[in-house]
């Protein structure tokens, strides 16, 4: 059987990559090939940049309200094809269908937020900064921007950037993850139907060669990236060398603290979602569960019980709570971390290593895994596992938890479960991560707030979506004027 091959979308046309190298796109629940993706080339990138650059002058002149109208049309088209996008997403990524629906919702919310451009992009002015002299600031688009997306959110993450880039008058190139490009291929079909001017939005598929071509291209003004920390750092440094704006969001080691007064029963569903949603492959996933004081035993008992009740299977089954991980290679990486945890002396109290689904024997499943009595110096307490593996670090005091959080290097998100406002204040005041959940297991900012961590979890100044993204995609021009 011939597999479908993903194409690039450049200058308003679907075009084949000029590469001879292709990768397989897998259905991770079945362990089967479902399509092929071209590992594009520098020439593909050059073609996309040329198209985007050619489109920029006219697009920039298009009034912001008119640009926003394209997004209104796009939102409607996304709503109409909502289920289809969600199903493709689950098929190639593996996550539960409701998670995919939630992701498509988040994607659309970014389109909705971006339509506020006529407010969000406005500048400001002040008369008489000196006698007879006025000063104003106006925000101007800059040219061609690009984004490099990860495999864990193939629908949402590109839309943390794309709608804002174009609504502010820039043109755009997306490189989807080579593991999950089908969702954006579908999305770009919808974009094609909406009728953007040629070259305003483009996509180039590929891997490292495409990334490097984007990073080095002199006609690209800025790069947005979401992925692992080493790559984020690499992208940050390389963009610095070529003088680009950059926002590079990296990995995480998120800690969820449970205080003795926490309402455990009420908290349990959100804890399960935090640690096992998307099979732990989220930069906001809980990774370390840190019960404080005497709450530990009761918490752990209930946490294990709820974990065991979760259904594991194909994400397309509405009953599924947790699907497979993205690939066989990633499953092996997670299993290696579990072995490391055992080797370093943590207590394996729920073992997911041998999980096998009877209906999906070739799927890339890892069963939920829980370690107790993990210490802060163990590898599984320090490194990002990106899988359904929970490390329980028992803490004596809140200070211990704060110290644990602030010594991980990563500083993406942290959560605390408590009813005590003084504890909350201390927690949010002292911890380094930039996204905080209070009785929330996934501290995910919605489109109208910024998304991004600190420390080794983010390289760059301006974060994804929120108000800041309008600054990322525009240059602030200050005009000082007087007349004789």
């Amino acid at each position: 059987m011939t597999l479908p091959v993903i194409k690039n979308y450049i200058d308003g046309e679907w075009v084949e990559s000029n590469t001879e190298v292709f990768g397989d796109i897998m259905n991770p629940a079945l362990g089967e090939k479902i399509a092929q993706v071209p590992y594009g080339t520098k020439e593909d990138v050059d073609m996309a940049v040329a198209a985007a650059r050619k489109a920029y002058p006219e697009w920039r002149k298009t009034p912001p309200i008119t640009r926003a109208r394209y997004l209104f049309r796009l939102k409607e088209a996304f709503e109409e094809q909502f289920e289809e996008i969600a199903e493709i997403l689950t098929t190639e990524q593996g996550k539960a269908i409701d998670e995919s629906r939630g992701e498509v919702r988040r994607m659309i919310e970014n389109v909705e937020h971006a339509t506020g451009v006529t407010t969000m992009m406005t500048g400001y002015c002040l008369e008489d900064i000196a006698k007879g002299v006025d000063c104003s600031l106006q925000r101007q688009p800059m040219g061609v921007f690009a984004a490099i997306a990860p495999y864990n959110f193939p629908g949402m993450v590109p839309w943390w950037f794309l709608p804002y880039a174009i609504v502010t008058g820039n043109t755009f190139i997306l490189k989807p993850s080579e593991q999950v490009p089908m969702t954006q291929a579908k999305v770009f079909e919808i974009i094609d139907g909406v009728g953007f001017p040629e070259g305003v939005v483009n996509t180039v598929n590929g891997s490292r060669d495409v990334v490097n071509a984007l990073l080095d291209h002199p006609d690209i003004e800025g790069i947005s990236f979401v992925g692992a920390t080493p790559t984020a750092k690499y992208i940050y440094e390389r963009c610095g060398a070529t003088g680009k704006r950059v926002q590079a969001l990296g990995g995480a080691k998120n800690i969820v603290a449970i205080m003795p007064d926490a309402k455990i029963d009420a908290a349990m569903p959100s804890l399960i979602t935090s640690f096992f949603g998307c099979a732990g492959q989220r930069c906001l996933s809980g990774s370390i569960l840190a019960p404080v004081g005497e709450v530990a035993d009761e918490l752990i008992e209930k946490f294990i019980s709820s974990t065991k009740a979760m259904k594991i299977g194909s994400g397309l089954d509405e009953q599924t709570g947790m699907g497979p991980v993205i690939s066989g290679a990633h499953r092996d990486r997670i299993l290696a971390y579990i072995e490391k945890g055992i080797e370093e002396g943590a207590d394996l109290i729920l073992d997911g290593r041998d999980f096998s689904h009877p209906d999906f024997p070739n799927g890339y499943f890892v069963g939920p895994t829980i370690f107790d009595n993990v210490t802060p110096d163990m590898t599984i307490a320090k490194e990002e596992i990106f899988g359904p593996v929970v490390s329980i670090v028992r803490a004596k005091t809140l200070d211990d938890v704060v110290d644990l959080i602030n010594t991980r290097g990563f500083a993406n998100a942290a959560c605390v479960y408590t009813q005590n406002a003084a504890v909350v204040r201390q927690f949010k005041y002292q911890v380094n991560p930039a996204m905080i959940g209070v009785n929330i297991g996934i501290a995910a900012p919605m489109s109208f707030f910024p998304f991004g961590g600190s420390g080794n979890s983010m390289f760059g100044d301006l974060k994804g979506h929120g108000r800041e993204i309008f600054q990322f995609y525009t240059d602030a021009k200050v005009v000082i004027e007087r007349y004789f």
Binding site: E79, F82, E83, A96, I97, D98, E99, R101, G102, V104, R105, P269, S270, I272, T273, G277, S306, A309, M310, K311, E318, Q319, G321, I440, I442, A444
Partner: protein, 141 residues
């Protein structure tokens, strides 16, 4: 089988509405029901609207928080096997239509309680139940 999350509850509702719609469509095309054409046309129109309402509610309200598990809700009490209307007499058609509508009222009532933390969703489900109560009142020969 349990209805353990937002998607499965809304998914069951969508399936239930499609079953209702199929039956109402077949009833409307049954010669014996010609005298009740406007009644069944109304039920068909409502079911189509309900399906759209459910799909929109699912699209607009699915978030991470709504993925949290739900306990104590099962599909079995709401599963009905129905024959197609052309094989039935008018009494049988009205009886089956009534059973389907009563089932829908029960389902929406219980589902609204299970999803009460999501007021938009819960409100939509309650409204669908109310609409079916009005339909049930109209279901008289």
């Amino acid at each position: 089988m349990p209805l353990i999350n937002f998607g499965s509850i809304l998914g069951f509702a969508e399936g239930m509405e499609k079953q209702n719609l199929d039956f109402f469509l077949s009833a409307a095309n049954t010669p014996g029901c010609a005298a009740y054409q406007s009644l069944f046309d109304g039920l068909i129109k409502n079911s189509r609207k309900h399906i759209k309402d459910i799909q929109r509610t699912r699209r607009e309200n699915v978030t991470e928080m709504i993925l949290e598990s739900i306990e104590g809700f099962f599909r079995e009490p709401f599963v009905l096997e129905t024959k197609h209307a052309p094989g039935m007499d008018v009494d049988g058609i009205f009886k089956t239509a009534g059973t389907l509508i009563e089932r829908s009222i029960r389902y929406y009532g219980e589902a609204a309680v299970k999803l009460k933390g999501q007021s938009e969703v819960s409100g939509t489900l309650k409204n669908l139940g109310k609409k079916y109560k009005r339909d049930l009142d109209k279901l008289v020969k």
